[in-house]
Symmetry: C2
Subunit: 341 residues, 2 copies
């Protein structure tokens, strides 16, 4: 099934069930007022939500409304946990190659993961706010999952079964703040802006054969200012699948229902700078940093600039029939002018 | 006023107002069912909660119940954000000295802060669960604050005014997992177990003159296995006050109501290993790592071991009259045997 959260003036929005073709939605206040409530009580509500979904797709509900992505907040407008992996090691290899340092062998067996801020996500069509372009504003197009409760030390198999929902995410990074912050040794903090998630999240069964081995085997498409920028396949070159990422997160503590785990920037292994760009037949990139790394490796310095105020980023994924699965993350970059709530 | 969250079988527990002397509590379901709800709607509920508090202290409420710390969950059993600073630079200086490396000059002007997991806090009297003693289980006794909404780029003064509540925290660290994790460059993740907070949180005004310059000027007392281990003053040697820590967290993104910001392990500047221990007239330590650093610096290697299953940690703070302000964090270390919910 497909679920979304509509903005309604509250901090958590209103949970709705969305038709498979993203044209209609049905409110479900008597089943679950919010997505967090549904996740907290999944065993008792999932079946009832699924029944609404079936009826909605069959045009058998009594008060379906026209769905619009612009009505949506992120599926979880705020979450109790957002932890982002870096499962596409190709991305890490390029980072390191641009810095002339080796990738430690352990990176191929032990996932990289950072704890992100989850108190203030923005909606899929909300601006990417920043106070300065000098921060080096970059997109990161990723896939993510929402889990149920996971015990400490859960096996990879148990973690695969704990994946409740799948969605896309733009993990906005402030690249020029990263080097200083990583030098301090405590990981990312100020260098990560508020993330936005796709309008719709879906249960893994909704993905059919594209969900295999806890990976999503479809291209993720990225446009910057309406021009194609990336379309790497999220199922390829993913060194750690989502079950492994969840198990990594649960190694020393329980994860509570509603935990979001990200894949890290999707990145496929390609040839050189020329061949990797979409206009030259490559699959392109899911962040500006990646093309800048190719430029650094081959030309000695990056040439592509980071996002500027007024730029637009669009992230989407289409099924084999060309239909949008999650709706689009569609964000303009804008100067922060004051409180959004 | 003083607030607490009683365990009631739900994920968020039940908010109660607690009398100043921690002997009685009053349920307040008609004002705010949970602490998160109160924080989300602070402007409209704080005054009403304060009225209950006044009546409770005056013995003028109609259904006050006997308060017991063992009834409590952490004030926020789960939170949308938990970010922990490292404001007592003495602690960092000792870490670095034990490693024979200098403290970067920027550490005195730019706070260290890491994003922690906030989905699954444990109660103040719940066990510290781990799967292995080999993880190097350590306490970290700290002060923390809960904020209201904070705009991106808020000034230190604005952040001072956004501090809603103060409480203690045991930020349990798994020391033997830290070196490998820091080498990976993404900060702490598996090396931080679930934190526990004091039974009671209090508004800053409740602290009277002990709350000055956004610091809490009282000793934090730590016992390990009923023996005094630490009593450093949390108001001394704090390089960054809470307002500065909140401003650091809000530099590139909004903070949502219910954000918890920690001070880092409280640590006072002292002489040597001999003089720093409580039995020799020092103020002791708020984590085992600190005495191990003294041992490393003076004796070449640490001798004090980390916590073992069965050990007990008690963290508390007393006012000038010797009364416990927040109740005690009182945790046994235990082997994790399976899901706690």
């Amino acid at each position: 099934m497909k679920l979304a959260t509509l903005k309604n003036g509250t901090r958590d929005g209103a949970l709705v069930v969305v038709s498979r073709d993203l044209t209609r939605y049905q409110k479900v206040p008597k089943i679950a007022a919010t997505l967090q409530f549904a996740l907290d009580n999944w065993d008792s509500v999932a079946e009832r939500l699924q029944a609404v979904y079936t009826a909605l797709n069959d045009n058998a509900t009594w008060d379906a409304q026209p769905f619009a992505e612009s009505l949506c907040h992120s599926p979880l407008p705020r979450a109790y946990q957002w932890a982002d992996g870096s499962a596409y090691i190709n991305h890490v290899e390029l980072v390191r190659k641009a810095r002339n340092v080796d990738v430690p062998a352990s990176f191929y067996t032990d996932p990289l993961m950072y704890q992100g801020g989850s108190d203030s996500f923005v909606g899929p069509h909300d601006p990417i706010y920043a106070l300065s372009e000098e921060w080096g504003i970059d997109l990161e197009a990723e896939v993510s999952v929402i889990t149920g409760d996971v015990p400490m030390g859960a096996t990879v198999e148990e973690c695969a079964g704990a994946i409740r929902l799948v969605m896309l995410v733009n993990d906005v990074s402030l690249r020029n703040l990263i080097p200083g912050e990583l030098l301090k040794g405590f990981g990312f903090f100020q260098s990560k802006a508020a993330s936005a998630f796709s309008p719709v999240c879906v249960t893994p069964d909704e993905l059919g054969g594209a969900w295999q081995d806890s990976k999503l085997h479809l291209p993720i498409t990225v446009h910057i200012n309406q021009r194609p920028f990336g379309k790497p396949n999220a199922g390829e070159d993913m060194t750690f699948n989502f079950a492994q990422l969840v198990a990594h997160a649960a190694k020393t503590r329980e994860l509570a229902a509603g935990t979001i785990i990200g894949s890290g920037t999707v990145s496929n292994k390609q040839g050189d700078l020329h061949g990797s760009s979409i206009e030259n037949g490559g699959v392109g990139y899911c962040c500006l940093a990646e093309v800048r790394m190719y430029e650094t490796i081959e030309q000695g310095a990056p040439r592509t600039s980071f996002l500027q105020f007024g730029d637009n980023v669009r992230i989407e994924m289409f099924d084999a029939d060309g239909a949008s699965i999650f709706g689009a993350i569609n964000q303009d970059v804008a100067r922060y002018e004051g409180p959004t709530r």
